[in-house]
Symmetry: none
Subunit: 130 residues, 4 copies
DNA sequence: GTGGTCTAGACCACA
DNA sequence: GTGGTCTAGACCACT
């Protein structure tokens, strides 16, 4: 379920954040569904509970989940919006990645197909307006 | 010219690496053009020369510049190629960014146009065959 | 264990890199085995931690080790491959060394036996198919 | 004749030393033949005379040429011998290079053929006892 | 004057 | 306690 790469130089908690974001975006985790309790998940992944805690806090900060004290963490039903700062950062990142891929020899065709695949896949979970 | 964010969690030397990669990819820095001397740039940015040195060394490792001791650092004329590992990492990153942009409400049209702009712009500097 | 030559013109960090490469190639350091922590090794060798850090970073760049922040540096289990540039450099170096040995009077027999020994020894650690 | 790589990180004077050693070993430069005068060579290569001077001094130090004050530098007719220190260093280097080539996937066959080619080529110039 | 190396010492992030 | 970053400042090699 969670394929953590302990060898990776990206911190564990960040891998968790990314993974959960994927699950939420793709619709595997439904709106208002509860995330695994911190201790449970920590136990299953054999990581420090603090690490999971930190991941959940970050998800909350980014607007993907909300927390109910004493209850747990839950998937926020509506996609976070009106986050111009984050959007700008992502736009910037998109430009950076594309231009570097381009520079390293990948052609427009390949880049486009990756993007289309990505969008197509995510459509299954969260249908969105286009 | 170089807008460093000293508060950012991404290291200064990495910000420098990213910025220089943009400048090289976009063709603002021409092949074999000299980069600012380590001490000079360090002075202008009010960072330690070691930090700039580290950035230049990283650029060298990634194949974007070459260094001639006693002379300076220069833009490598040919783009690095045959770097499957780096390509994979970038592909992965592309997927992540696209899916998150999608989730935050950006539609396919907008994403596509960003990519096309990016590819079009980069063509001015480093023409590439497709 | 580590015989550093502080008078040598080859930098300390590079001597460390070479030594570790030998240890990894010969199989003395097993896959996923941890390297000595930066500070510890620095202490034992009475060099600055930054110097060891630099060596480890270089080994990482060359694909011999991986680093997990907060955990340590570890031997990468799979040998780096697809590095045509490095292979060419080594081929060139091999030619240079052989021709100079030849000139200084060493005959074919001796050179061959060194090579066979070397290949035989390395087989013990990292078995390879031919 | 002299293909200097000003981009290389190996110093110019060292490239000169290596190149002259090749020429002497391969017999292109005959015993007692005069090397190009410092200023002439410097002019042709558009490098600083000091750089050529330094290369010649190094060649002298390594026993490949001798200098006649006021006359110039000449190829030493007999190969330098009884240099156990240098021999050991080269032996060591040979082992290092071979084991790394081996580790990077080159097989015994390829390595052997490189060595045989090298020895065969150098035979034309300086016939030696085997 | 250029890059390269090294030291000493500090602070932060992560587990 | 681990690696990672950064500063300040010194010294060397090369041109």
């Amino acid at each position: 379920m969670f394929e953590l790469d302990f060898r990776s130089r990206t911190p564990i908690y960040e891998q968790l954040v990314d993974r959960f974001k994927e699950l939420i975006i793709s619709g595997v985790l439904k709106p208002d569904e509860q995330l695994p309790p911190v201790r449970v998940l920590a136990g299953e992944l054999t990581v420090n509970p603090n690490t999971v805690q930190k991941a959940y806090r970050e998800l909350e900060h980014q607007g993907f989940v909300y927390s109910v004290p004493g209850k747990g963490h839950f998937v926020r039903p509506t996609a976070p919006s009106d986050q111009p700062a984050r959007l700008n950062r992502l736009r910037q990142e998109l430009r950076r990645v594309v231009s570097e891929l381009r520079y390293l020899g990948m052609n427009y065709q390949e880049i486009s197909s990756i993007i289309e695949d990505q969008i197509f896949d995510s459509k299954g979970g969260h249908p969105q307006d286009d």
